[in-house]
């Protein structure tokens, strides 16, 4: 676990920017509910939520500084969840 002993000093400015991005994305997720996107409504909500959780993982949870295997595992989990959703919507979108 050698990389856990390295210290990663992230400037406050970076955290501030990430916080601002998260707030903006939250506001967008609220605002977008005013628009009728029909079958893309759920997709849009999930996309925005995924971008937000991705940013949290990469910056706040330090995935950016983790080893390659951890990055691959986390990406693979996201791909798996995305695939499960795609398969689920093969039902909802084609009824």
């Amino acid at each position: 676990m050698e990389n856990h002993n390295d210290s990663h000093i992230v400037p406050f400015k970076t955290y501030g920017i990430i916080l601002a991005v998260l707030i903006v994305l939250t506001l967008i997720s609220v605002a977008v509910t005013q628009i009728d996107l029909a079958s893309l409504t759920v997709f849009t909500a999930i996309l925005l939520a995924s971008i937000k959780s991705g940013i949290v993982l990469v910056y706040f949870m330090h995935l950016k500084f983790d080893n390659l295997m951890m990055k691959i595992f986390v990406t693979a989990v996201f791909v798996l969840v995305a695939l499960v959703m795609v398969v689920t919507f093969l039902d909802y979108n084609y009824r």
């Binding site: 695939l83 499960v84 398969v87 689920t88 093969l90 039902d91 909802y92 979108n93 084609y94």
Partner: protein
């Protein structure tokens, strides 16, 4: 089989003096072997209760009309039978018992990566079990929805749904904690020289299983919380009356519960992959193919859940996709069967009880698997859906697959766990009764299902009477076998002949440590320089 006694100048994990004494030394122990045994005793206790409920159902079906119970009781009993057998027995089953006991030893480690987390997972399991079983004793009566808790009925029944659902929710955490522990253990604690392709097959299957435990279990947790939200707060997730979609419940439930079938069956396949080469005295055929097929089953198994819902009203596109994927997952399963049979080809086989269990596993697993293809095909599924055929199919897979592998595993590793040997002739007799009883119990249900007998009905028309009598008699024979097996193992644990380190001639690491092992398993961590199955 050599029976020379193990040297006695060592202290086994069972005799080790710790901080606590008596039962406290067990329930607060962080030793992976003690925790494995705690799981064994808990799971076997629940299994006996589940068998009792199953036997009561078969007794009710001995004759048409009311035999020993009324319809409402029958509904509650099949629900409890399902909840206990699935959530308390087969899902934790092999990983919790044999995974805990043998994973660290088989990879050359002193314990799992997080021993305290391991103990916590057992405690969480016990708490979850108590919550689920409390549904039995509270006003309102036990739930009657079936173990699947399908919407919208699960929101309308006045029985104790919430404790059962909450129990299943808590049990999920136990599963997740075990999964995290096993993944980290396998990544970080393998002995020097144990590359991924020198990892024995049982740990490989535990690895695949652990990923499913971590990634699929939260989905059922969230789903069960949504039930609670709907029942208590009237949020319309699943109930059409509140604007919800009952098929969404089925999706979410099976997104977990189908991979859960692989949580059950993968470690069972791992145990069989250990037993067969040992008793064939021959290197396993196609080691890498078995490893890859394990991972393929774990992955593809995520995408086949819809085959439980072919008659629920899904879109045509979803139906075709799920049917195709279901046939796809049969391929890696079949690869394994061919590899096991290939291992037996031209082998000099030791005919002992563990081998009989493994060989009969192949037989019942094949019947279960092939009948699954009939259910995976869209047209036949419409005819067979919710009939006794489905009950026969999943009992051949889950009870035949997991149950036989569990029995094989306990007979295989018993001398290592207890340092004593059971009576091998009695063990074989018990297996014979069990195997005959099992086939007599479940085979007639295939015919009943094809003929149209629905599942979960406490009554039936006269033309189904004959096969139901045969089936009920089968349950009696199987229970006789079970009594013989359990009595023989208990007697063996207390007064069986002391056994050597390696009574079966196995090659994996657990056969190099003392029987029973010491607290830390190895005096020195071994250096691995060979494959786990270098027989000949």
């Amino acid at each position: 089989m050599s029976n020379q006694e193990t040297e006695t100048n060592y202290v086994s994990f069972r005799e080790e003096k710790g901080k606590y004494k008596g039962i406290l030394a067990w329930i607060f122990s962080t030793d992976h072997k003690r925790i494995g045994l705690l799981y064994l005793y808990s799971i076997v206790s629940f299994f006996i209760i589940g068998v009792g409920l199953g036997a009561a159902m078969k007794l009710e079906l001995l004759a048409p009309g009311k035999t020993i119970m009324d319809p409402a009781t029958y509904n509650a009993i099949f629900t409890l039978h399902g909840v206990i057998m699935i959530f308390l027995v087969v899902v934790p089953g092999l990983p919790a018992v044999f995974g805990n006991f043998f994973l660290p030893i088989m990879i050359g480690a002193k314990d799992v990566a997080f021993p305290k987390l391991n103990l916590l997972s057992w405690w969480v399991y016990v708490v979850g079990a108590l919550i689920a079983l409390s549904a039995l004793f509270m006003g309102g009566g036990p739930p009657d929805t079936g173990w699947t808790f399908y919407a919208p009925y699960s929101f309308k029944t006045n029985t104790n749904m919430l404790p059962a659902v909450l129990g299943a929710f808590v049990l999920g955490f136990s599963s997740i904690l075990t999964g995290i522990n096993f993944i980290v253990t396998i990544h970080r604690l393998r002995a020097p020289g144990m590359s991924w392709f020198r990892l024995p097959l049982f740990p490989w299957t535990l690895y695949g299983t652990a990923w499913i435990q971590i990634l699929a279990t939260p989905i059922v947790g969230i789903t069960l919380l949504m039930i609670v939200g709907e029942r208590l707060l009237n949020i319309g997730f699943f109930d059409p009356a509140l604007g919800g979609d009952p098929i969404l419940y089925q999706h979410l439930f099976w997104i977990y519960s189908h991979p859960a079938v692989y949580i059950m069956i993968l470690p069972a396949m791992g145990a069989i992959s250990e037993i067969i080469p040992t008793f064939a005295n021959k290197s396993i055929f196609g080691y890498k193919a078995i490893v890859i097929s394990t991972l393929a089953i774990a992955f593809v198994g995520y995408f086949v859940w819809g085959h439980h819902m072919f008659t629920s009203g899904m879109s045509g596109t979803a139906l075709y996709t799920f049917s195709f994927l279901t046939f796809l997952v049969a391929i890696p399963s079949a690869i394994k069967v061919f590899n096991w049979v290939g291992t037996l080809h031209k082998a000099s086989i030791q005919l002992e009880a563990p081998f009989f269990w493994a060989a009969s596993f192949l037989f019942v697993f094949m019947i279960g698997g092939l009948s699954g293809l009939a259910l995976g095909a869209l047209a036949t599924n419409v005819h067979l859906h919710d009939t006794a055929f489905v009950v026969a199919h999943f009992h051949f897979i889950v009870f035949g697959g997991v149950g036989f592998a569990f029995m094989g595993a306990i007979h295989y590793w018993f001398p290592k766990m207890y340092g004593r040997m059971y009576n091998t002739k009695v063990a074989t007799t018990g297996w014979l009764f069990f195997f005959i009883g099992f086939c007599t119990l479940y085979l007639p249900m295939f015919f009943l299902g094809i003929d149209g007998m629905p599942r979960r009905y406490y009554d039936y028309v006269e033309r189904f009477h004959g096969p139901n009598i045969v089936s009920t008699i089968g349950s009696w024979v199987m229970i006789i076998g079970l009594i013989i097996i359990i009595a023989n193992l208990i007697k063996g644990a207390y007064s069986g002949a002391k056994t050597s380190k390696n009574p079966w001639g196995g090659r994996t690491l657990e056969w190099e440590v003392d029987s029973p092992p010491t607290l830390e398993n190895f005096e020195e961590i071994p250096v691995i320089e060979r494959s786990p199955y270098d027989y000949r």
